[in-house]
C-alpha cells in the first residue's frame, strides 16, 4: 500500500510522516507541491510545518499548489487524506473540511504531550481505535484554535464527525475542545496534534499515534 506525503516549501514533518507510514507497514511516496501528480498513491498525508511561511493565513497559499488540485479531486472521489497541523489548516482552507484554525487564544505557541479522546472510529484514519479510547500524542502549534459557526459545530457533533477531542485543559481555545474533524464520508480527516510523532517509544510519548497509519493501511487492504 502506497501512502503519499506531500512536501510544501516550509513543511517540517514530512519525514516523520513518511517514517510513520513505513513503521505502520506501508510504502511512503514523496509527493512534491509543484507536481500535479499523485503518483498512483492509495492515500495522502499533508504534514505539519509552515507551508509558504504561513503568509496570508496558515494553509491559504498551499491550498493553491498544483498538487492540491489533484488531492482535492481525489479526496472528493474517496481517497483517504489525513491533514496534520498545517495539513489540517490546508484542508480547511481547501474547504475539504469545515471551519478554520485561528491563533491560540492565549497567544503562545504550545508544545506538549496532549491527552485526547478518540470520538469516532468510523473514519479511514481511526478505524483501528475504539470510540472513546484515550490516547496521548504531541501537540505543537501557534494557530490551532478550531472555530466554526454554531450550526456547523452542531452538525459535526450530530453526524459523529468530531474525530478527536482534547482532554483536560483546552490547549488553544478550540471550540468544544475539538482537536480533529472528518468530512461526511470519513475519508478526509484533519487534526492539530501529531500522531506521526508518536509511533515509536524511543522518540515519542508512546506509540498511540501509530493507529492513524495502521487504520488506513488495514482499510486499504480490506478494500
Amino acid at each position: 500500500m502506497r501512502v503519499g506525503v506531500v512536501t510544501f516549501p516550509g513543511s517540517l514533518d514530512d519525514r516523520d510522516a513518511a517514517r510513520a507510514v513505513r513503521v505502520a507497514g506501508g510504502e511512503a511516496v514523496a509527493l512534491w507541491h509543484g507536481d500535479a501528480d499523485l503518483r498512483g498513491v492509495d492515500a495522502v498525508v499533508l504534514p505539519g510545518g509552515f507551508s509558504y511561511g504561513d503568509y496570508l493565513r496558515c494553509g491559504a497559499i498551499a491550498r493553491f499548489a498544483p498538487v492540491m488540485e489533484r488531492v482535492v479531486d481525489a479526496a472528493r472521489g474517496g481517497l483517504p487524506v489525513l491533514g496534520i497541523c498545517n495539513g489540517f489548516q490546508i484542508l480547511c482552507e481547501s474547504h475539504l473540511l469545515p471551519g478554520a484554525l485561528i491563533r491560540n487564544d492565549h497567544r503562545k505557541f504550545v508544545c506538549r504531550d496532549q491527552p485526547l479522546r478518540v470520538e469516532s472510529a468510523a473514519t479511514a484514519w481511526t478505524s483501528g481505535y475504539a470510540a472513546g479510547q484515550e490516547i496521548v500524542i504531541p501537540l505543537k502549534n501557534g494557530e490551532g484554535g478550531y472555530v466554526a459557526d454554531q450550526r456547523t459545530l452542531d452538525e459535526l457533533e450530530g453526524e459523529g464527525r468530531v474525530v478527536v477531542r482534547y482532554l483536560g485543559d483546552n490547549p488553544n481555545g478550540s471550540y468544544r475542545d475539538i482537536a480533529g474533524v472528518a468530512n461526511a464520508r470519513g475519508n478526509v480527516v484533519g487534526l492539530m496534534p501529531h500522531p506521526e510523532h508518536a509511533v515509536e517509544a524511543l522518540t515519542g510519548p508512546g506509540t498511540d499515534g501509530l493507529g492513524f497509519f495502521t487504520s488506513v493501511l488495514e482499510g486499504l487492504v480490506r478494500a
Binding site: 493565513r57 491559504a60 482552507e93
Partner: protein, 83 residues
C-alpha cells in the same frame, strides 16, 4: 493606473487574540478610553489599467478566493481615488 484596496477583518464573533494583545498594550502605555481593538489586513492592489467595473469585480473574486477566508473573515473592496 488605479489602486484597489481590500480590507480584511475577522468576523465579529471570531476571537482576535492579536487585537486583544494590542488592547493590553494600550492600557499599559496609558492610552485610555479604548473599549476594544481588532486587527485586520489591508491589501493595496495596483491595476495595470483603469478601475473598470470588470477589473474591480475581478479583484472582488480574488478577495473571496484568496485574500479572505469567508469562514472566519469579512472583506470590503474599494477603489482609492487620486492615485
Amino acid at each position: 493606473m488605479a489602486r484597489v484596496v481590500v480590507d480584511v477583518m475577522l468576523k465579529p464573533e471570531i476571537l482576535d487574540p492579536q487585537g486583544k494583545a494590542v488592547q493590553g498594550a494600550f492600557s499599559r502605555l496609558g492610552f485610555d478610553g479604548v473599549a476594544s481593538v481588532r486587527q485586520g489586513k489591508r491589501f493595496e492592489i495596483e491595476l495595470d489599467g483603469e478601475a473598470t467595473p470588470e477589473a474591480v469585480a475581478e479583484i472582488e473574486r480574488a478577495a473571496a478566493t484568496l485574500l479572505a477566508n469567508p469562514v472566519i473573515e469579512d472583506f470590503t473592496v474599494h477603489v482609492e481615488a487620486g492615485v
